[in-house]
Symmetry: C2
């Protein structure tokens, strides 16, 4: 089994996508994160949902937890204003790095070794040539475990 | 909306649970991670699926990626032996810390501020008294986004 056969579709956004739309996408589909592509369509970073939570919470509330308790729900409803006019690129953590990228011909063990080295929750599978990087999909850690352990039975949710 | 109303059930294992069973649980249900409880049932750590991938891959393969390509699939099938006799506690990352814990009465914004401060993908909700910590459930980042943004529509998968 090669990386190309293990890769599955994963929700992506662009660095210049609307931040609010990205947050709504994660909220609606209960996604733990999104894959962010740069302006050329190449994998640039993983945007965890917790980062969008951070972008929504006013800095004064993060700094002083006692304030969070006294902000009422009505005010909390207006949190989304924090994302107005912002782009996905503005919400990325400063230390964000591109996800590890596997070659479509890599074996499951090569993908596992790559994931283990960088301790990433997912590996992007992409074909790279002179014209650039062409994303085929991603392999998540649990999907890879499924393959490595040869688990049969319940297919679960992906 | 309080933390107690937002908390949902999450798969847990104990530090002394069988490591192989934990890995199979993540693989079968495509879980990005498990919540690990200590011997008293208190939240001890989050075990990401990528950590179990790391536990499966022989150290010499992680150190020398070129070896991963030449280990044949048949040999890869025997990776699960790496987990035989090991406990979940043996597989936790050295730097594993307990997940952030919210009080059942905390507001959504308090939970968000806690998540933002520690940048955790989830917050455990637990009632704490002299008798110990009683886990009610967890709130994931995407679930919290859903609440904060007041998203309606597709319920998605959790």
């Amino acid at each position: 089994m090669r990386a190309r056969d293990l890769a599955v579709e994963y929700r992506t956004v662009r660095v210049d996508s609307d931040a609010m739309e990205a947050a709504r996408l994660m909220a609606e589909h209960r996604l733990p994160g999104l894959l962010v592509l740069d302006e050329h369509g190449e994998p640039k970073a993983i945007l965890p949902a917790s980062q969008m939570v951070k972008a929504l919470v006013p800095a004064y509330v993060i700094d002083d937890p006692t304030l969070a308790a006294v902000v009422d729900e009505k005010h909390a409803d207006r949190l989304c204003e924090a994302l107005t006019g912002r782009r996905v690129g503005d919400c990325l953590p400063h230390e964000a790095t591109p996800p590890p990228i596997a070659d479509p011909d890599d074996t499951a063990l090569e993908v596992a070794a790559l994931m283990a080295r960088v301790r990433s929750p997912l590996v992007a599978v992409a074909h790279r040539d002179k014209a650039g990087t062409h994303l085929l999909g991603v392999i998540t850690a649990s999907h890879l475990l499924h393959q490595l352990l040869g688990v049969t039975g319940a297919s679960g949710t992906s």
